[in-house]
């Protein structure tokens, strides 16, 4: 009984300490005097790694999700004789929900896990420590560029996902199932509002990008420096960031669209 209580207490304190360390890492890496000359090349390298290399998976999954939405929406709406509304359905569900959430989940799996493994391995092979030895701050050199790269690239990827998805939906609905393209686009434009739908979707993706990359970088930075520790940290990155994205999505949706 006492043992169990002790274990619970220790676990809670460990979690609290980890949260504290992650906040400390964030502050130390974000609030540094800017030095664009040396930081920009590092940032570009990371942007290429987490952003550009994720383009293919984002493009392909966006296309297929849009096509599935178009097909499913059509088969349901055709029963009510309102199959023109399929454009509205595809666009609203993509812009508001699917694009930010699915992109963030894919991003956590594709880029987040890689970042965690990379930083974890750097720690295990004592590269981080050697940076400190030669007087280079690893926060600035390793952590900060990765944080910024994730934060910048996820919103871009989300918008690309939404556009590709809508294009996929129009491929199925207009070109394959023969909905009149005028009513497809007109219905969409009449129902999608720029500030409530598009901008809120972008706000969501900004929040998700921040959370996912923060979790990924911190799990790598805080990993136990063994091969087992790195594998655990990588798993934790994917699990924690998926849960955080889905939970935050509910809260953000309730705040943005739940005005009842």
């Amino acid at each position: 009984m006492i043992d169990q209580l002790q274990r619970i207490g220790r676990g809670t304190l460990d979690r609290l300490a980890a949260t504290g360390r992650s906040g400390q890492m964030l502050l130390q890496s974000l609030f540094v005097p800017p030095a664009p000359k040396e930081m920009l090349p590092l940032l570009i390298k990371q942007l290429h790694f987490v952003g550009v290399l994720s383009l293919v998976i984002i493009f392909v999954s966006g296309l297929f999700i849009g096509m599935v939405l178009g097909l499913q929406g059509y088969t349901i709406l055709v029963d009510y004789g309102s199959e023109q509304a399929v454009g509205q359905m595809v666009a609203l569900s993509l812009v508001r929900e699917l694009a930010p959430v699915v992109t963030a989940l894919l991003f956590a799996g594709r880029a987040g896990s890689a970042v965690t493994a990379e930083i974890g391995l750097m720690k295990a092979t004592e590269q981080l420590a050697s940076y400190e030895m030669i007087g280079v701050d690893p926060m600035r050199r390793i952590i900060a560029p990765r944080l910024w790269a994730g934060f910048i690239s996820l919103p871009l990827l989300t918008m690309i996902f939404a556009v590709v998805g809508i294009w996929g939906g129009s491929l199925v609905a207009v070109d394959w199932l023969g909905i009149y393209s005028g009513s497809f686009w007109a219905n969409m434009q009449a129902s999608v509002d720029f500030s409530t739908d598009v901008l809120n979707g972008i706000v969501k993706s900004l929040v998700f990008g921040f959370v996912v990359i923060w979790i990924a970088v911190f799990q790598g930075y805080d990993a136990v420096p063994t091969s087992e520790g790195i594998s655990k940290a990588t798993t934790r990155t994917v699990v924690y960031s998926s849960l955080a994205v889905l939970g935050l999505d509910f809260i953000l949706t309730a705040m943005m669209f739940g005005e009842i």
């Binding site: 666009a91 969409m188 999608v192």
Partner: protein, 152 residues
């Protein structure tokens, strides 16, 4: 050389993101760059607006000529006071026009239909449509129908 390919890739990513944003704004949400803020405001009182919302269409013969800009309660008359913004190019609505709350389709959204009148004088900024017809509320209709059945 290696660095240059990275830079080009990142530039392409950012460009694709910006193009996507513009596509979302213009093609998907129909954000128009021309300013429709101009125009004039007219008012109408309704007994029951039954689900009319702000930004609902105001139409003449089915063509949109404006939108509902505000809905409030007239505390003196205890009726709904609807403020509508009419596009400035539509300056030929006569002063005795009437306004009706209509439904698009059987269960669709509510909008306001204007039926033009015959007077020479036209509606101006701040004028009020006196002849209005409330929304069709399904419950009231069923209630009336049942009441008639019972009294038969």
């Amino acid at each position: 050389m290696q660095m240059r390919t990275l830079e080009i890739g990142v530039g392409a990513l950012i460009l694709a993101g910006v193009i996507s944003l513009v596509t979302l704004a213009i093609n998907v949400s129909g954000l128009s760059l021309t300013d429709r803020a101009g125009g004039y405001t007219i008012y109408a009182r309704f007994e029951n607006i039954g689900g009319l919302t702000e930004r609902a269409k105001v139409s003449l013969s089915g063509v949109q000529i404006g939108e509902v800009s505000a809905i409030r309660i007239d505390s003196r008359m205890l009726m709904a006071d609807v403020e509508m913004r009419i596009f400035s190019e539509v300056d030929y609505l006569s002063i005795d026009s009437s306004a009706q709350i209509l439904t698009a389709g059987l269960l669709g959204e509510k909008y306001i239909g204007i039926t033009p009148g015959f007077e020479e004088e036209t509606l101006q900024e701040g004028s009020r449509i006196e002849d209005t017809q409330s929304a069709l509320v399904l419950e009231e209709l069923i209630g009336k129908f049942l009441f008639n059945k019972v009294s038969e």
